[in-house]
């Protein structure tokens, strides 16, 4: 596993602050709801910058790629988004959670 996925929460939020203060476009993704078996608990964070660099995790690595893509959109538009991933999702075969759970992720721009 990418060691970046193991970063502690405080590092992630500090990174979000530092990256923004350094003038980068930044989005923060937060797990806000989970159903069934979910890899990361509610409150877990992923921070993303405009170049697609990221730190933290919202799943065990299953959906981070999709969240990063959506986050780039949020950084561009400034409008927050709520994303849902799970086996019931029609995109599950592509970016679903292999553990069978469902998660909802709130993605917002840091501004």
């Amino acid at each position: 596993m990418d060691s970046k996925l193991l970063a502690r929460d405080e590092d992630i939020l500090k990174a979000a602050e530092d990256w923004r203060k350094a003038g980068r476009g930044v989005a923060l993704a937060t797990v806000v709801e989970t159903w069934g078996s979910a890899p990361r608990p509610v409150g877990s964070n992923l921070v993303i910058d405009e170049e697609g660099n990221f730190l933290g995790s919202v799943s065990g690595g299953c959906v981070e790629g999709a969240v990063v893509t959506e986050a780039l959109d949020v950084i561009g538009s400034g409008k927050p988004k709520t994303l849902e991933f799970g086996v019931a999702d029609e995109t599950a075969w592509k970016v679903g959670l292999s553990c069978g759970g469902t998660i909802r992720v709130y993605v917002e721009k840091v501004e």
Binding site: L13, E17, R20, T30, P80, Y106, E111
Partner: protein
Amino acid sequence: MRLDILSALNAERAARRAVVIVTDVSGGHQRLVRGSDARNDPLADLLDKHLRSGKSGMEETPQGRVFLTVHVPPPRLVITGAVHISQALAPMARLLGYDVIIVDPRTAFATPERFPDVKVLAQWPDQALPPLNIDRYTAFVALTHDPKIDDPALMHALSRDCFYIGALGSKKTHGRRLERLKEQGISDSQLARIHAPIGLSIGAVSPPEIAVSIVAEITAGLRQPPEARA
């Protein structure tokens, strides 16, 4: 999230203070509530529930659905008594994520050799405990078995909002302790906060087993709502 909210959040966390971010997930409106201001907030009850559990989560409110991002300081365990049980208890508590501090004025007991990787204060409780700022995220145990050390330590813990207080000693020993503390003017309702004999009843015999029963009881104090406890 606004940068000023994010900066304030990081500052509160660095200072070991609890804080909640309230986010309206449909509209995106966001505000920060400091733990010390939570009781005067319109969402006081919800905030209190989340500050106690330390868990973030979605909640229904009269204003709609909000997400509460909860940040509480890592729990601490303050152990009075650098004794054999403490040597097992300290590493177990560290595994569970606690910051551990050991207080014992007896310098032969309170040595870094006996307690690697743990903060050890070779001081009397009256001197050592007040600066620790024991808060609701602190568990407190008294394990010296010596009233000269345990009693003042327990009196300090009872004056604070710690989530767990436990004291070593049989029912008989604890009975005598309650009488002494009552003479010091501690009320029955306050004294009822002390878990004694300490630890869950699992037939523990050796010091590490007793430590297991203590960390289990502390975990129940941290995670279980009071009505669910036996």
